[in-house]
Subunit: 419 residues, 2 copies
């Protein structure tokens, strides 16, 4: 089983492993510099335990891949020949987040350091347009942002796509997005073709709830390793970050909290079952409970939520009692994710965030009553500050993480200014 | 913020980081040898990218910590001076798994390679005895196993303790174990004192469902990275392995599937709420549905499950219809974990495994109907082969993993035979 060759020959497996080792070492060096724990080649050698020759080769490669740059200053203290200081060269690599929503399309271009380079958003009736036209429109919008990004000298690493539905992540296909009326949409290959992307570009498609959770986790002021983001729109989904990693399961089909059956023989749900949580806290349920005159008016979720909020603020009794009922069932839903995932924080997104003042008091009481592990486990629940932009932010985040976790995805083009 | 000293001096933070780097390198070397990817010092240097001097120091330390040994054979092919081959020396380090159940106590001693060194089990009425007496009895049982383990020349690395309840993992305290009638039991400090353990020994206490999941994941024939273990006893708990790691959340309070409310205004549950899943598929619910004459007879769960099984096999209509109803709600529970965690496999443990033939057909139908991501997500559901021993196995596993993830926990005593 473990056939051995002399050093310097190596089987295919061994070469594969050596590639993995080198990639892991690139990631380690990048992380040390990114966290400002080491800023010269000799410090990197000390920190990582790698030889100076190895570190030097890794740094050269990271500079060629435009992930590090020499800052030009010199190392003042210490023994031996001073070395040039290194810093993250995130400004030359861009990540695009794009989002397909039932009511709008959005694109956001950032660099590796998270600076926004360009951003566009347009109202769009996605279910009406059909998948091919919608993705074509998205590609046009992304193309405009990409043009702006590339004119500033930044190279695209990849695109993270947020979709409200079941996504087959490995193939980049949207399996089923009921609210878009999409089935088996090969969005990755369409975007690749229409944006003329090549194999150096990463395209990741993921569920909007997963990407929203990633955006909440990557907030500069975030201090927790474990959080659940609960997004309320027409559907209800959870994105889970646990131990600083997005929970993906075996194929990315995680966090379908909206279809936990909470009422035996309850109201029919779009999934074909009855009494799902979504039939109690999805936006349609909220409208039915709090503003039944809006049923069937087919408005944008954000607009519907604004009407609910305005009526509640004006003291409309129906709105107040309806949102209180939503608060009860939202609390049931939060208690389920708390009892299963034990996060340090639950962040409410989508329409939940907009009406938070009117649903949180009841929801928090439910959570306290239902947290099996007691009050310590009944973690804080906050409203997202990202409004309806969390998913597109997360789309950009996932590409930034991909690049920093696999620097070889960045083309090796020599240091800035040489090509 | 980033104060810098010359090489060789170093702040406290820097020394801390260097310790982390060395520990990580020890783990990398150990993993390479464990997986048989590298078996000589020069191969390890090639694979890890570390210098030969660094590798040599790491290997010496791992030999002193009795985690590696030289096998005495020589490297035949290749260029340069041949080196001695290395192999995992798991036989000198032992891990104990111990389990507190409402009806029995169990202890299992294994070496790092997973070989069983000694095993003991006794019937015990834990709630009746009270926590202090129960832990005293457990310590006596563990002491016997430990004596047998140490007589064979093996040194204890630590003890993994499985408890059916809410465990505060960092402090090693059982917060609340309703079926044991325990509250705030400092089991770690009691076991440390009564077994005369010192700071070199690890003691980990965890929920039995978590440890059962770890045992299923560590089966030699396991091929999946993501699984959920659903254990049915008086209570119902889920242990989740995701991306090859046990899901812990922020404080270890994960997997409380038994308290998902599935029937609004349903039967009262021990947790204080109504209509929890446990009120439908806990062992008491099964007895109520399938063999109501056994209610209140207070038998050992395994014995009650054997009676249910025998009656179902004999064609008792009440037993068959009752277990079919349990199968329905078990399928609801499985669909919840499938829709939230997207595992590749669900393993049923405890009484579920014993009556699997009579609950699985119905449960599998429910799962197929309720898997939101479609048939591909409706993963296989199997019965555990471990009976009621999964948790004690997982207790030993968690110590083995701790040692291999942090070799510095093994005392540095020189190579075998020198002390």
């Amino acid at each position: 089983m473990h056939g051995r060759d002399g050093p310097g020959t190596g089987t295919d497996d061994e070469r594969l492993d050596q590639h993995t080792v080198r990639r892991n070492n690139l990631v380690r060096v990048l992380e040390e510099v990114r966290a400002c724990r080491a800023r010269s080649r000799s410090e990197l050698a000390t920190r990582t335990g790698l030889s100076k020759a190895t570190v030097s080769g890794l740094v050269t490669e990271l500079i060629e891949r435009r992930l590090l740059r020499e800052s030009g200053r010199h190392h003042a203290g210490g023994v031996g020949r001073p070395g040039r200081l290194l810093e993250l060269d995130g400004s030359t690599v861009a990540a695009l987040g794009v989002e397909v929503n039932a009511h709008y399309l959005a694109v956001r271009g950032v660099d590796l350091a998270g600076r926004v380079l360009s951003e566009r958003r347009m109202d769009f009736d996605t279910p009406r347009a059909g998948a091919e036209q919608a993705v074509g429109e998205l590609a046009r919008l992304a193309g405009k942002v990409l043009g702006e990004v590339e004119r500033s000298g930044t190279r695209l690493a990849g695109i993270g796509v947020a979709v409200p539905g079941i996504v087959d992540v490995p193939s980049g296909t949207v399996r089923h997005a009921p609210n878009l009326l999409w089935r088996d949409v090969p969005i990755t290959s369409w975007l690749r073709r229409w944006l003329a992307l090549d194999e150096r570009h990463t395209v990741v498609v993921d569920n909007e709830a997963n990407l929203a959770a990633l955006a909440e986790f990557n907030r500069p002021d975030n201090t927790v390793d474990d959080l659940v983001s609960l997004t309320g729109e027409v559907g209800v989904g959870a994105g889970v970050v646990t131990g600083r990693r997005l929970l993906r399961g075996s194929a990315g089909f995680t966090g379908e909290i909206g279809h936990v059956p909470v009422v035996a023989h309850g109201r029919a749900c779009g999934c074909g079952q009855r009494g799902c949580l979504e039939t109690r806290i999805g936006l349609e349920a909220a409208v039915r409970a709090a503003a039944p005159d809006l049923i069937g008016t087919g408005r944008d979720p954000a607009r519907q939520a604004r009407i609910l909020l305005r009526r509640a603020e004006e003291g409309d009794p129906r709105a107040l009692s309806g949102l209180d009922e939503v608060g009860h069932w939202l609390g049931v839903g939060i208690s389920i994710v708390v009892n299963l995932f034990n996060p340090s924080l639950v962040v409410l997104g989508g329409y939940f965030a907009m009406v938070a003042a009117h649903v949180l008091p009841r929801a928090t009481r439910e959570l306290r009553a239902r947290a099996v592990a007691g009050q310590e486990a009944a973690c804080p629940v906050t409203a997202s500050a990202f409004g309806f932009t969390a998913a597109v932010r997360g789309g950009a985040n996932i590409i930034v993480e991909e690049v920093l976790d696999d620097p070889c995805r960045c083309p090796r083009t020599g240091p800035r200014g040489k090509d």
